[in-house]
Symmetry: C2
Subunit: 409 residues, 2 copies
């Protein structure tokens, strides 16, 4: 034993594996890292009501969504071109991925429009499902307008379809892997925005795949998770090592994973209480917005359903005032809000989500998303609404609003 | 301005973008993050002798390699099936990715075997290049046996080929993007293991793409980099937001990127000195191994070229003793070494690299990789060789080595 002053000393001669110990190594420090990784995986599985082997750690929500969608299409191996059903308010990492697959002639897609309240009708999803549909992907809660989608109802309709579908025999390659004839369509949900406030139990939700991201969890590392039901036939989008069931090669980001599971467990524990607290602040925010004269004057309205939305989301439209200008004016007053998804910020166009719920919207109509968090107080709301009033008073000189034209919702 | 006690107070209402400020947001905290990201990108570009826009941040080396290889194949849009030339000692994230593309009928591949010293002959690479070759991918330094590949010589041969190739007109889609007729084959190098010790200047190396990983840099975050020369037509493998020139959507991992560039700049500054210091320790290690009787008795030999190797790599074969047993015995004595790439550890088989340089090797012949780092001292070497002697004395009772059969190299 390598000793130094009577105490056992470790000699690290595995710098090429990783400058820090790596769960893929079989020496003592590697095994210790592996044990930590296994513990984190178990905790995440517990929160989701899943099995540890069904948890895949990724680099983030974008990768999780790409893995679910590209992986389902590449892994399906159907005799026909795979078909995907999704909605028109998905995050770009879902919607653009579907479009990319279509462009590359690897899949055909059906995009179901949501209703004017920003919620999709499960019956319309069901109507689009056909024999070659391998995947339905519907987000749990929208990132811009916060609307919560009826995941359980959609899951029920999919289960119903699977049970009644014509039993066209699957290729032997799938049958061998124990994939039942009735596994398609798979049901994936992007739960990135739901993580802090909604039930994540995959059994209760009835989903086959679910994406999470550490970036929406306070104190979590920059990692993502894809829950994948054991029987789901997914093809990897990366090749390399055998990590994460060979679905996600590359050294696991252990430090971030450890932070992630700690933050997830904490959020899970505080979920109900925090949702209740924010719901009250949200109601207060709505009340203040609706009772401020200048906001009424410019024709402000709420984007998305007032009830079926995340308790931390307040999204409004202010006709005739560009979003980016509003964000910058608010920022100058110390208030950090956003116009739309940060992934698409600053391009000067209306977001695809706002357009989806309000086809009459123009690029010059501004939308603002205020997303609240654990530090948000009523006082913040007062100051925000006050700042917004000041900005509108200032901007009124330049932008002549069309007189209280409430856009049809 | 939101104020509190006369001091300006920030109200963060962008939790849905990210629990922490995000370089994609256009408000003040978002812009600050963007500025930090730009600074990091500039520093990385400086170390590589590249332009900032040519630096793509990824989740790690595995993703960088997948992006380069899959992206080149998908982005080439040639009338014929794209062809890749690579070697038989690449990291799995290169070799397995090439094989996956072949299996999915998206590319054909030629795998050039290295010589018995673990170094590829540039002439053999050149011989494999043909009209539809879109990519040559050769690693800079091997992760298991540390051998350094003749990147500059290969680059020269590729340039020569490009200049003399038949001028078959490229599809308009490429010509429009300003891709010259002579851009193929592209030349990619996986420089993950080279980062601490070798010259990374892309102009001097003559490469079009180069992969790096934070996991091999002390104190760097878990991120990767792909350098991509501006004119290289790469298709994205992920879809989503517009980050990283739309080639790598997803919120940038800013905390890790900041750690990465700091560590890279530091390693770059200390490169020569540290390489010189380790070269001496490595020589001492070789000497000790070669002058220990029991090691000679069991037929130990060095894997890979003795001179043209990373200064931190000592890789040996000990015939008839399984690798994993050696790693575990060393670990029990406080010494963390590895048998092969951690990405493939623990599966009980000889590595593809060891087999590539020594086709006669059996799965029961053990290989050990000692990779040295900034904390390694001569004393560590003394203790390692001593521990190795003890282990061999112990194991001799169970494993009867074939009498000093030096395997043909």
């Amino acid at each position: 034993m390598a000793k130094s002053n009577g105490k056992s000393r470790k000699i690290y001669m595995d710098y090429a594996a990783s400058a820090e110990p790596n769960p893929g190594s079989i020496h003592e420090l590697g095994l210790k890292a592996k044990k930590q990784l296994d513990g984190a995986r178990r905790s995440v599985a517990d929160v989701l009501g899943a099995r540890p082997a069904e948890i895949i750690f990724t680099s983030g929500g974008t990768e999780s969504n790409n893995m679910a969608i590209q992986g389902a299409v590449l892994g399906a191996k159907l005799p026909k071109l795979p078909h995907i059903v999704t909605t028109n308010i998905e995050h770009p990492s879902v919607l653009e991925t579907c479009k990319m697959l279509e462009k590359r002639k690897l899949a055909e897609i059906s995009i179901v429009p949501v209703e004017s309240n920003g919620i999709v009708d499960p019956k319309k999803i069901k109507k689009e499902i056909k024999k070659n549909t391998v995947l339905v992907s519907v987000m749990y809660a929208n990132n811009e307008i916060g609307t919560i989608q009826p995941i359980k109802e959609i899951a029920k309709k999919i289960r119903h379809y699977r049970k009644r579908r014509d039993l066209t025999p699957l290729p032997l390659s799938l049958a061998r892997r124990g994939v039942g004839e009735r596994c398609f369509p798979l049901f994936h949900t992007d739960a990135v925005q739901a993580v802090n406030y909604l039930d994540l139990n995959v059994e209760r939700l009835g989903v086959d795949m679910l994406s999470l991201s550490g970036s929406k969890l306070k104190g979590a590392g920059r990692v993502g998770v894809l829950y994948k039901r054991k029987s789901v036939p997914l093809a990897p989008i990366f090749s390399g090592g055998d990590q994460e069931g060979a679905l996600r090669p590359g050294t696991e980001n252990l430090p971030a994973i450890l932070k992630f599971f700690t933050a997830l467990v904490k959020a899970h524990k505080n979920k109900e209480k925090e949702a209740k607290r924010l719901k009250k602040i949200q109601e207060y925010f709505f009340y203040k917005l609706e009772h401020t004269d200048i906001l009424k004057d410019v024709g402000m309205f709420l984007n998305g359903d007032r009830q079926e939305r995340l308790p931390n989301n307040v999204s409004i439209t202010l006709p005739n005032i560009p979003s980016d200008l509003l964000v910058i004016e608010l920022s100058a007053r110390g208030i950090m809000a956003s116009a739309k998804s940060a992934c698409k910020a600053g391009d000067g166009k209306s977001s695809h989500v706002i357009k989806a719920i309000n086809p009459k919207i123009k690029d010059t109509d501004g939308s603002l998303r205020f997303s609240l968090g654990r530090k948000t107080t009523k006082r913040d709301i007062d100051e925000t609404v006050k700042a917004l009033s000041q900005i509108l008073k200032k901007l009124k000189k330049w932008y002549t609003p069309t007189p209280i034209l409430k856009l049809e919702k």
